[in-house]
Amino acid sequence: MRTVGRPRTVDAAQSSLALLLNLVRTETATTRQELERHSELGRAVVADRLTTMIDLGLLREGELGQATGGRAPRQMRFRQDAGSLLVSAIDQNSIALGVADLNGQMLVEHHEAARLDAGPEAILERLATIFDWLLKETEKPAPWGIGLALPGPIEKPAAVFGTVPVLQGMQSWQGFPFLERLSMRYGVPIFARSGVQTMTMGEAKAGGGRGLSDIIYVKLGRSITAGLISEGRLHRGAQGAAGMIGHSRVGDELLGAVAGADALAREGMAAAEDGRSPYLAQVLLRQGEVSVVDIGHAAQLGDLFCVELLGRCGRMVGEALAPLTNLINPALIVIGGLVAESGGDSLLAGIREAVYRQSHPMVSRDLQIMRSQMGASAGLVGAAQVVVEELFSSSTLQGWIGHGTPLRHPDFQRGLERYKRTLALEMAPSGQTAP
C-alpha cells in the first residue's frame, strides 16, 4: 500500500480514493485538513476525491469538528448504511445469523437449533429463508457481502473472491458448492473462515479483547480449537488450518478426546451410574442422559465430582495452552464454547493453575484469562469483521471504489459468471428424471 509520496501511476485516482476512504472509515482522519496531512495529497485532490465519494454514496458530511483557529472544520463520515453484510455462524447443533452494517456493527441477530448432518441443501435453504426475512422485515439495506463461519478449518482460496469446498469431512457435504450457491443467490462476494477464527476476531472487536492486539481464543466444545490474534492480525497459517490444539497429546490420548464435551459427558454418565455424583444420578433418572451443561450446573451447586472433573479438564487445556502462551505472550486468553459456558469457575481455575505454573513470569505477569461473554455472537461479529477487512483491504478497495460498490468489482463479476457456468454444467447432466 502506498502511504508516502504522491501516486504517479495510472491508477492514481483509485488508490487515492481508497486511501482517503479508509482514513475516514477507520476515523484515523476525518477533516479535510487531517486527510491532507495523513494522505500527503494536495488540497485540490482531497476535495475532488471527497466529492466523488459523496456522489458515490460512500461518504457524507457530518457534524462540525474541533476548531483549531478559524472556522470549525466539517467532519467527513463513512456511510456505514450504504450496504449491509449478511453473516452466519454454523455449528454442529446450531446456526446463528445476523445483519451488520458496513462497519461490522451487528444490527440484528437470530440463533436457532439446527443439525449440520441435515445436509448442505437444508442448511442453505434455512440460511436463505432467514436472511430474506431479516433483510425484508427489518428493512436493512441491500447486502454487499456474506461472512460465514463454519466448523473445522477452511482453506485459503487462490484469489480474493475465490471459493473453497467446505465441510469435506462430512459425507453429505462432499463436493457441494455451498459457498458458490450462497454467493450466487445474493449476488455478493462470500468469505469463509473457521468458526474459531471468526470467534477470535469477534472477541477482539467487541468482547474481552477490545483494544488488545495479542489474544488467544480457545473454543471448548465437542472439539478443542484455538484462534490467535498477534499484533492485531488474525493468524490463519499456511493452509488456513492454524489452531488445532485439540490434536496435542495428553499422555497417550488427544486433548480433544479427553477434555472435549463428549468426553466430559461420558465421564459424567459413568459417575451418575455408579453414584459418585449424586446430582448427576438424579439428572440421569429424570432425563435419561447427562450433558456437559448438567455437569456445569452440578459443579455450581457444589457437586464435588463435577467440580473436580471440570478442574481436571481445565488443567489439561491449560497445559496445552502454556507453551503457546510462552511463544506468543498474549495479553488475554478468552475461553469460549459449550464447555466454558457451562463449566464456570472450576474450569477457569484449572486453566489458570496450569498456564500460570508453566509460563515465564514475564509472560504471565499481566496475562488475563477470562470466560467469553459473547457466546455465539462472537462468531457473527467476527464474520462481519472478516468481510469488512476483505472488502476494504487496500488492494480490493482499489478494484471497486470507482464503481461505488464491491458488487461491481471486475474480479468478482468474473467469479460470479464462473459460478453460473459451473453450476449450470453440474445441473445439466443429471437433469430432471421421472419421479
Binding site: 446450531s94 446463528a96 445476523g98 456493527q105 451487528m106 444490527l107 440484528v108 441477530e109 437470530h110 440463533h111 436457532e112 437449533a113 429463508t129 432467514i130 426475512w133 422485515e137 427489518t138 467487541a206 468482547g207 451443561v293 450446573h297 455450581q300 459449550l338 459456558e341 464456570g344 469457575d345 461473554q373 459473547m374 457466546g375 455465539a376 455472537s377
Partner: protein, 344 residues
C-alpha cells in the same frame, strides 16, 4: 413442577445461549439470609404498566423481592416511548438503587442508556431481550425471558389443524424491530415449512396497534382462500377479531398471551382457537430471584427462560388460573359453561 400442557424450551438466547430453566434459579437458605440482611432496593422499568402482562410481571417481581426484604423503590412506565425510557434510565443511573429490572423498548437506540446503568455500578436484569451488541457480564447480568421461539411453534401447530391441504394462512406481524415478536414469527414460519409445506403463507404488518384490524382485513381481501391467521400477540389478535366480525368473516386465529378479551373469545368458541401463553407472574418472580443472586455476587446464567403454556378452548379456565394466579372472571366461566351445554 410441570403440567401436561407445559412446553419445553425450543429457542436459544440472544447470543445463542442454551436456556437455563427459570425454576433452576433458587436461593439457598444462607443466600436468602444474606439478601434479607442487606435490604436491597430495586427499580423496575417497563414499556407500559397498564397491560395484564405488565401487572402480573410486576406482581411477581414485587412479591418475590419483598419475600427477601428487597424494596421496589420505583416503577417507571415508559408508555412505549424510547426517549422516555432513555431519560428514565439516565435519571436512575444517578439514584442510589442497587439493581434495575428493565424491558428494553426497541433495539439499538436504548442500548447505551442501559450500558451506562451497569457502568454506574447498578446490577441490570433484562426482561425478554438484550439489545443487539449488549453483552452479558459486561453490560447486563442476565436476560429473563419466555421462550418466544416455542410460542411461535406452538401457535403454528395449533393453527395447522384449521388449514386444509394446500390452503393459505396469514401472519399478522409487528412492523417494529423487536426481538420477541421476530422470534415468534420466525418460529411460526419454520414450523409451517417443516410440517405443513403445502400451506401458502401470506403476511401483513402493522406498526401501530390501531392498524392491526385493517391489516387483517387487507390480508383476507388479498387472499380469498385464507383459512387462518397467526397474530404475534393478543391485542392485535383481538383487533383482527373485531374487524373480521364487522365484515361478517369468521377466521380461525392463534396468538400469544391469554389476555382477558382473548380468553373470553376462546371461551365463547369464537375465532381464537389457541393461545401460546407467557407466564408473566412466574417470569417476574424468576427475574427477581436472578436479580438477588446477581446482587449477592453469585454467578447467574446469561439467559434464563420460561416455557410457555398452550391454551385451547376446553381448558381456558384452568389455564387462566395457572397464568394469572387468580380464578377466571365469571363471564369467562359462564361462557365456557354455556357453550358446553349447547354442545352437549
Amino acid at each position: 413442577m410441570s403440567g401436561p400442557t407445559d412446553m419445553s424450551i425450543a429457542g436459544l438466547g440472544p447470543h445463542g445461549e442454551r436456556a437455563v430453566p427459570a425454576d433452576q434459579i433458587q436461593l439457598t437458605e444462607s443466600d436468602a439470609a444474606k439478601a434479607r440482611a442487606r435490604r436491597f432496593s430495586v427499580a423496575v422499568v417497563l414499556h407500559t404498566t397498564t397491560s395484564d402482562w405488565s401487572k402480573q410481571e410486576l406482581a411477581g417481581i414485587a412479591a418475590t423481592l419483598g419475600h427477601y426484604s428487597a424494596a421496589v423503590v420505583e416503577v417507571v412506565d415508559c408508555n412505549f416511548d424510547v426517549e422516555l425510557q432513555i431519560a428514565a434510565l439516565t435519571r436512575l443511573a444517578r439514584r442510589p438503587v442497587d439493581a434495575i429490572i428493565s424491558i428494553p423498548i426497541g433495539n439499538a437506540r436504548v442500548a447505551s442508556a442501559h450500558r451506562n446503568l451497569t457502568q454506574s455500578g447498578c446490577k441490570l436484569v433484562l426482561l425478554d431481550n438484550a439489545p443487539t451488541g449488549m453483552l452479558p457480564g459486561t453490560d447486563y447480568a442476565s436476560v429473563v425471558s419466555t421462550d418466544n421461539f416455542g410460542l411461535g411453534e406452538s401457535c403454528a401447530s395449533m393453527l395447522s389443524a384449521h388449514i386444509p391441504a394446500n390452503g393459505a394462512a396469514g401472519i399478522l406481524g409487528y412492523g417494529i424491530d423487536f426481538f420477541a415478536t421476530h422470534e415468534r414469527e420466525i418460529a411460526f414460519r419454520k414450523w409451517m415449512s417443516l410440517h405443513r409445506p403445502d400451506i401458502t403463507l401470506v403476511r401483513e404488518r402493522f406498526a401501530e396497534l390501531d392498524g392491526a384490524g385493517q391489516a387483517a382485513l387487507a390480508m383476507v381481501d388479498k387472499t380469498p382462500g385464507l383459512s387462518g391467521i397467526f397474530a404475534v400477540w393478543d391485542v392485535p389478535a383481538m383487533k383482527a377479531v373485531r374487524a373480521l366480525a364487522e365484515r361478517g368473516r369468521e377466521v380461525p386465529i392463534t396468538t400469544v398471551d391469554l389476555g382477558n378479551d382473548v380468553a373470553l373469545e376462546m371461551a365463547r368458541h369464537g375465532m381464537i382457537k389457541g393461545v401460546g401463553a407467557q407466564l408473566p407472574y412466574d417470569q417476574g418472580s424468576a427475574a427477581a430471584r436472578v436479580t438477588l443472586a446477581a446482587l449477592l455476587g453469585l454467578q447467574v446464567p446469561p439467559w434464563v427462560a420460561l416455557a410457555g403454556r398452550e391454551v385451547r378452548p376446553f381448558d381456558v379456565i384452568e389455564a387462566y388460573q395457572v397464568i394469572w394466579h387468580m380464578p377466571a372472571p365469571k363471564v369467562i366461566i359462564d361462557s365456557v359453561r354455556a357453550t358446553t351445554v349447547i354442545q352437549n
